[in-house]
C-alpha cells in the first residue's frame, strides 16, 4: 500500500521536475515534495502506521525516494543557476567599494616598533621597568648625588621623598644590572615624566628608549659604530653624523649624537635652528660609579649606554611641530598613520 504510493509519488515528481523551466518552478516542486509538510514528509509520517514486517523495506525505499528527489532537485537547481545569466542584473561596476577601516597603532608605537626591530637585529634584548620608581634607581644609583645640580637637569614629579615618577628610562639599567651578570645587551623602552610646563616643545610625559651593553672589551668606538648603524637604518643611508661631548651623570665620557638635518640637508633651516644638525640621542660609556652601585667590576667590564626620545624622533621624521598632538588622540591624527 505504502510502497505503491511511493512509486506514484516518484513518477509524479519525475513528471513535475521535467516541466521545470526556471528557479521559481523549481521552488514550487521543492515545496510540494521536499518541505516539512510536503509529500515525502507525509509518507514518513505514514510510515509510523506500517506493520512491523513492512517497516524496514518500506523505510528503505522511502529513504531512497527522498535522496533521489533531493539529488534531482539540487542538480537542477545548480544547472538553472549557472546556465541562466540573469539578464535583469543591472550592476554599476563604477560604484565605490565599501570602505573597510583598519585600525592602527599610535604613531609613537610605530616609531618605537621600528627602533626595536633595528636593535633586535643588532642583538639587543627588549626589557621593561615600572614608571613609579624609587629615587635610588632613578637618581642615586645613576650617580646623581642628592644635592647635586645635575638633578636640576630633570624636573621631577615626586610621590614622596623615596618615590617618584621616573624621569628617564635609565633606572631600568640599574634593574637589569642588579639582576643580571654581564654580558648584558638590551634596549629598554618606556614612558617617562618631567615636571615641565606643557608647550608645543615639551609635555609632562614622553617616551624614551634606553640602550645598554656591558661586557669585557666594550669601547666608545663600538658605541659609535652601533649608533651609526642604527641611525643609517632608521634615518636612511648616506647621512652625516657627529658625536659631541656632553654630560650625563651616569656615563663618562658622554656624548650627544647629531645627524645632518634631512630637511635642509645641512644648509640650515628653522627645524635645525640654522645649525644644519639635529640632535637625536645622548650616549656614553657607563660611569664606573654606576658599576659600583650594581657590583660590577669596572676594571673587568666596560659598557656603553644611550637614550633617545621617541616623540622627538617621530616629530623630526614626520614633520610634527607640536608634541601635544601625540596625546590629544584626535582620531583624524590617529588615522593618518
Amino acid at each position: 500500500m505504502l510502497s505503491e504510493r511511493i512509486q506514484i509519488i516518484r513518477s509524479e515528481f519525475d513528471s513535475d521536475i521535467s516541466k521545470v523551466s526556471d528557479l521559481k518552478d523549481l521552488e514550487n516542486v521543492r515545496i510540494k515534495y521536499l518541505s516539512r509538510n510536503g509529500e515525502i514528509s507525509t509518507l514518513f509520517e505514514d510510515l509510523k502506521t506500517a506493520t512491523k514486517e513492512e517497516k524496514p523495506l518500506v523505510g528503505k525505499s522511502l529513504n531512497e525516494l527522498r535522496n533521489y528527489a533531493t539529488t534531482q532537485f539540487n542538480l537542477l537547481k545548480e544547472n538553472l543557476e549557472t546556465a541562466s545569466p540573469s539578464t535583469d542584473e543591472k550592476i554599476d561596476i563604477t560604484l565605490p567599494g565599501i570602505t573597510k577601516i583598519l585600525g592602527s597603532k599610535h604613531l609613537l608605537t610605530q616609531t618605537l616598533d621600528e627602533i626595536k626591530s633595528i636593535f633586535k637585529g643588532l642583538g639587543f634584548s627588549i626589557l621593561e621597568g615600572p614608571e613609579l620608581e624609587s629615587d635610588y634607581n632613578n637618581f642615586e644609583a645613576l650617580n646623581f648625588p642628592s644635592d647635586h645640580p645635575a638633578r636640576d637637569m630633570q624636573d621631577t614629579f615626586f610621590i614622596n621623598k623615596e618615590f617618584l615618577l621616573r624621569t628617564h628610562t635609565s633606572p631600568v639599567q640599574i634593574r637589569v644590572m642588579s639582576s643580571h651578570k654581564p654580558p648584558v645587551r638590551a634596549i629598554m623602552p618606556g614612558r617617562v615624566y618631567r615636571n615641565e610646563a606643557v608647550s608645543s616643545r615639551s609635555y609632562c610625559m614622553f617616551h624614551q628608549v634606553e640602550g645598554l651593553y656591558v661586557d669585557s672589551g666594550v669601547t666608545f668606538a663600538e658605541l659609535k659604530g652601533t649608533l651609526v648603524s642604527f641611525a643609517q637604518q632608521f634615518y636612511g643611508e648616506g647621512l652625516n653624523y657627529r658625536f659631541r661631548p656632553s654630560f650625563f651623570p651616569f656615563t663618562e665620557p658622554s656624548a650627544e649624537m647629531d645627524i645632518t638635518c634631512y630637511l635642509c640637508h645641512g644648509k640650515g633651516c628653522k627645524v635645525c635652528k640654522q645649525t644644519g644638525w639635529l640632535e637625536i640621542l645622548g650616549c656614553g660609556m657607563v660611569d664606573p660609579n654606576v658599576f659600583g652601585f650594581v657590583n660590577y667590576d669596572s676594571e673587568k667590564y666596560t659598557g656603553y649606554a644611550f637614550g633617545m626620545g621617541i616623540e622627538r624622533t617621530a616629530m623630526l621624521k614626520y614633520g610634527i611641530s607640536d608634541i601635544r598632538v601625540f596625546f590629544e588622540n584626535d582620531i583624524r591624527f590617529l588615522k593618518q598613520f
Binding site: A150, F243, R332
Partner: protein, 802 residues
Amino acid sequence: MKISLNWLKEFVNLKNVPSEEIISKLNMCGLEVEDEVNQIEIYKDFIVAFVKEKKKHPNADKLSLCTVDTGKELLDVICGAPNVDTGQKVVFAPIGTLIPKGNFRITKAKIRGIESSGMICAEDELELGDDHSGIMILDGSLTQGTPITEALNLNDLILEIAITPNRPDALSHIGVARDLAALFNIDLKIPEIKLVESQKSISEFASVEIEDEVNCPRYSAKVLRGVTVKESPEWLKKKLTNIGLRPINNIVDVTNYIMYETGQPLHAFDLDKLHSKKIVVKSTKTETTFLTLDSKERHLPAGTLLICDGEKPIAIAGVMGGENSEISNSTKNILIESAYFNTSSIRKTSKALVLSTDASYRFERGIDPAGTLYSAERASQLMSELTGGEIAKGSIDVYPKKIEKKLAELRFNRLEKILGYNIPKEKIFEILSKLGFEIVNKNDEKIDCKIPSYRPDIEREIDLIEEIARINGYENIPTVSRINILLGEKIDESKYTDDLRNIATSLGFFEMINNPLQSEKTAALIGNKIPVLNPQSADMAFLRTSLIPGALTVVSKNINVGEKDLLLFEIGNVFSKRESTIEIQNFDDFLEQQKIIFVVTGKSSNKGWNSKEKFYDLYDIKSFVESFLTKISLDNVLEDSYYHSDDRFFDLYFTKNYSNSVIGIGGRVKKEILKQYDIGHSVFCFEFDIDALKKIPLKPKRYLEPLKYPKVLRDFAFVFDSSVNYKEVSAFIKMSGSKLLKSVVLFDLFENESLGANKKSMAFTLEFFSTERTLNEEEVEKEFLGLINSVTRKFDAKLRGN
C-alpha cells in the same frame, strides 16, 4: 650663558681664525653653541643721521616731522619720541632695514597722511638695552652716514653657550678661553694685576671672621675708599649689555664684569653701613626674615649661611646681598667680597628660597677656591680706575684650611680600553697641560696629575680620559664596522603587548596614548589613588587608577570636532596604593598594573551606499572582546558574569573571570558618567588587566585535522517566557545534548504580540558531528526530538513552526 667673542679674544690669540671654526670647535669640545648673534649682520643697515629740522606733524599732536640728513640725502621721517630735536645725531634705519625687536622690516609708509622714509630708533628697538623712553642720542662728533657698527663698535659675535652642570669652570670668559687654548694649542693670557694701593692698611678699615668654616672655607676682601659712584663708561656698559646684563653703576658693573671674566661672583658692600666695620660669616640658628636688595622680604630657614656685620645680617651668602648694605650713589667706601662657599649649602638656600642668581648658580656648581684673591684684586684695580677710589693696602684673606689640589692617575692602556683607540702620549701631555693639569709623575704605563682647583668635576681616571677625548675630538675616535652578537637568550618583554596591539588594530581599533596624571575626582573613581607631591596643576595631581576616564576624555574631544564614530584602544599602566598602605615606602606598598581598554561608540564605520547605518551596541563590545580572547587563545578559558545593575562606570556590564577573580570588566557606560564628559551618545568599553591575562597558563596550540565526515544541522525555535535568558537556554541545551552535539548557535530572536504577552522567541541551530564516522539520520533525529522535549519541559517553552 652669553659669551662675547671679542671678549674671549682678550685671553687667547684667535685673530686669524674664522668665527665658524671657533664655534665648531666649541661645539665639538662639549661647550654647545645654541645660538649666535652677529652684530655686524644685525646692524649692517643702520647709520648715523643728523636731524636737520624738526616740525610738528600737522595731523598728530604727539608726532614730529623731521628732516634727516643721512650724509647722502635729506629724508622726511616721522618720529614719535618726545626727545627728538633739531641738531641731534641719531641712529637711523633706512627703508629696508630689519629691526631686531619684533623682527620687522622698515617700509615706506604714510603716517597720518604724511610719508615717512625710515625710522629714528630707540635703544630697545635695537636690542641694545631696554630703554624706550625716547630715541638714542649719539655723540655729536659722529659723522652722518657712518654705519653704526662702526660708530658704536657693534662688531661682536655673541654666543649662547649651554654649559653642562659638570663645567662650572666654563661659566666665564676665561674658562671658555681655556678650552679654546687647548683646542687650538695656543697660550691662555690671564690679565695681570697692577695695584696702586694707599699707605693705610685694610686692617684699619675692616675685619672678617668666619664662624662656619665648613660652609665658608675662604673669604677674601679688598677695601676701596673715597669712591664716586656713577654710571660706568661706555666700554664697560657695552660689554655688559652685549652679554645681556643691565648696567647699574661703576661698582656693581665691575663686580659683574669680573664674574663674567673669571667666574668668581663678587659682592660690594657699602662699608660705612657695616656695624663695627666687620664681616662675620655664620649660619642662622633659627628662622629669620631678611630684606634682599631687590626689596623682597625673604624667609630664611635655620641653617642658612649669612654674611653679617657686627650686629645683623647684610647678605645671604652666595645668593643675594641685602638692601641694608647696598651700594648707593652716596656710597664712599666699599668692601669687595670674594669668597668660596660650600656648594651644597648655597644650593640648599637657593632651592629653599626659590631664588637662583648668577652668583648662586656658580657657587652651587663650584667655583675656584684658589681664585678668590685674584678676582678681588682685579676688581679693586678696575674700580679704583673707574671711581677714583683709593685701594687700601693689602687684602683680607681668611682661609683657615687650604683646599689642596687633588691627584689622579691615568693609565694609557685604560684610556685605550675605554675609547677603543690609542692617543699619542705627547698629545695627552699637551692637552692636559693646556687645560691646567700638572703632570707630577710619569712612566711608560701611566701618569699622575695634579688637578687644577677650578675643575671640581675631575677626580678620577675616567674624568681625565674624558678631558683628553673631548679635546682631541670625538671625531677622531674610530667607528667600528663590526660588532659581536651574543648567542645567549634573547628576551623581548614587550612582545605580549605588541601582540595585543596587533589584535586590537586588526579588529579596527585605533591606539591612543593618554596622560596618566589626572584630577583627584577622576582618579578617585576606582582604587586607592596615589597623589603627586608636587603637581603642576590640580588637573594632573593624581595617578590614574583606570584607563576609562582618559578614554572618555578622548571620546568627548573627538565628538566635539565632529568625529562621532570611534573604535579606540589604549595599553597603559594604572597605579593604586594597597588598601593597608598609608605612605609608600617600598615597591610592595602599591600596584602598577598594565591594562588594555577597548572603547566603542557611534555608528559602525563600515556603512556604505548599499548598507544601512548601524549603531554600535553592547553586543558589539561583547563580540570584540570575544574575538580578542579567541586570538590570544583564552576564548574557552574564562568565565563570564553579567550584571544589570549599577557599577561606578556602567549600568549594564559583564566581567571576564579566571579562577574566581575578575580580570576584565566592561559594558555600557552609564549616563551620569557620560554627562561629566559632555557625551550625549552611548559609549561601550571593556578593560582587561594585562598582567592577569599573561599569567593564565595556555595549552600549547596543536593542529586539528579538518573534519572528514559530514556535519548535520538542525534548527528549532521556541517561545519562552521573556524572563528566560539566552545563556540559561544555550547552556541547558549544551548540557542536555550528547557528545555528538558540538555547537548551539542562536540565529533569531524576536518579541511580538503575536507570541502573547511577555513572551519571546529564540531560534537555534544545532550542529552534530563525529570525528570518527558519518552520523545516521535516525540517531540525530532521535537526539533532536529528545532535546525538543527537554527544552519544552525545562522552560515551559512551546516549539514553534508546528
